[in-house]
């Protein structure tokens, strides 16, 4: 479906990554495969470096750090936030909502809506769409969208298909009403019948975590996982992405009355380099227009990959006067795929910062 909005803009984006860099070449001993075979994957998939948060740091901590950075360095007034959205698969607790915890820590006013959304790969676009809908209401003028995940703790360290690609991160985007009345159209589709192709089997009510669910088992191809770990049907997810994302791009461009050449950058979710190169080819655009360097530098951090992609690759261009046309698209968990075209110039904040623990 397509939702249409008017007069909305992102004023600030900050991405937060842990300081700790973990390198694929130093992790090769974790896997049951010959070293030379693992090294073959390095260039093809973009396995290189990824960021892993310290054990006692949560996704919410990184989001809090990013928000405080905006307050301390960019003059954001916490009292101006009318709604807070926290999107993650790795909340601090099941109860209460992490958005409530953050509302307290960030010192937001009581006249403020708070909610958590359990979402992943498409989570940044899902969050933008929620923010736009909230901003349609009189009384809501500024929304803080917080995305964060610590996926490194949800995948098995002995699973070479998953561990090298994931990274931990958080991000904060500030969204508000603007006088620019150009329409913003948000495309979203859901395919719940395939929802379990990407899942963490245990840990919820359907299958509570027990000693048994924590036991690592060879899944048949030399990778070891437990039922507490993230698992995905790789070929099915690949097939879904290659089939639906190019169609979504075409539909978004049609709605906007644009051609592929009109888009300066296709800022896509970052599963791995291989998939993004194949996707660029299938969409029919130059691979230069589809940045694919986030996995090799930071890892796939779920809904945070789009903010990291923007702040790592496009800072100079988005803070300039020149208007840049971006097509953002997320796809994966759900299965959900969603996207939109945004024109951005003179953005207040577009920064990638490293998380540092405050010494209290």
């Amino acid at each position: 479906m397509n939702l249409s909005f008017k007069g909305k803009k992102i004023t600030d984006i900050v991405s937060v990554v842990p300081e700790n860099v973990s390198r694929f070449v130093d992790e090769l001993h974790q896997y049951s495969f010959p070293v030379e075979k693992s090294l073959k994957l390095k260039d093809i998939m973009g396995f290189n470096e990824h960021r892993v948060a310290p054990e006692d740091v949560t996704a919410a901590d990184m989001c809090e750090f990013g928000f405080n950075y905006l307050v301390d360095s960019k003059g954001l007034n916490p009292a101006s936030i009318d709604a807070l959205i926290f999107i993650s698969h790795t909340p601090d607790h099941f109860v209460p909502p992490t958005s409530s915890i953050l509302h307290g820590k960030l010192g937001l006013k009581e006249d403020c809506l708070c909610f958590d959304i359990n979402h992943g790969c498409a989570g940044f676009i899902v969050g933008l769409q929620q923010a736009f809908m909230l901003l349609e209401n009189v009384g809501i003028n500024r929304v803080a969208l917080l995305n964060g995940d610590t996926l490194s703790r949800k995948v098995s360290k002995k699973d070479r298909n998953s561990y090298p690609v994931v990274g931990d991160a958080g991000s904060v985007a500030i969204i508000e009403n603007s006088s620019d009345t150009n329409p913003i159209n948000v495309f979203t589709k859901n395919r719940g019948k395939d929802s379990l192709v990407l899942k963490i089997p245990a840990g919820g009510s359907r299958m509570p975590s027990t000693h048994e669910t924590s036991i690592l088992k060879d899944i048949g191809d030399g990778n070891f996982r437990s039922l507490d770990n993230l698992e995905m049907e790789g070929a099915s997810v690949f097939a879904f992405v290659q089939s639906e994302v190019p169609k979504m791009v075409d539909e978004i461009l049609k709605t906007e009355g644009l051609n592929k050449d009109d888009i300066d950058f296709f800022v896509l979710h970052q599963p791995n380099r291989f998939m993004l190169e194949k996707l660029a080819d299938k969409i029919g655009v130059s691979r230069n227009k589809v940045p694919n360097n986030i996995v090799e530098n930071f890892g796939n951090s779920n809904s945070v990959t789009i903010p990291i992609n923007i702040t790592f690759n496009l800072k100079n261009i988005l803070t300039s006067n020149r208007s840049t046309k971006l097509l953002l698209a997320g796809f994966g968990v759900g299965l959900t795929w969603s996207g939109l075209v945004l024109d951005i110039n003179n953005i207040n904040t577009c920064e990638l910062i490293e998380f540092k623990k405050e010494i209290k």
């Binding site: 075979k37 073959k40 994957l41 093809i44 998939m45 298909n161 192709v197 191809d221 030399g222 990778n223 049907e233 790789g234 070929a235 099915s236 690949f238 097939a239 879904f240 290659q242 089939s243 291989f274 194949k278 080819d281 299938k282």
Partner: protein, 71 residues
């Protein structure tokens, strides 16, 4: 679909692959080679192969059957 045999031989780093050879007997038949072949089929035939499809695949002939069925 002769090009599939050539592509798969390339992926598996062997001289040639026949339709009936057991894929599991190749040293390089692993998750990466499966993904590479899936991507080739997607690009050249615009056909998407899922994990369900792959569960019964033993030979290249099985993959050719999937392509023929989905075509």
């Amino acid at each position: 679909m002769k090009e599939l045999n050539i592509e798969l031989a390339d992926i598996l780093e062997v001289e040639s692959v026949t339709d009936d050879e057991i894929l599991n007997s190749f040293e390089n038949w692993d998750s990466l080679s499966i993904l590479s072949l899936t991507a080739f089929v997607d690009k050249n035939y615009n056909i998407q192969i899922s994990n369900d499809d792959l569960s019964d695949v033993k030979t290249l002939a099985d993959i050719k059957n999937i392509i023929a069925m989905k075509n």
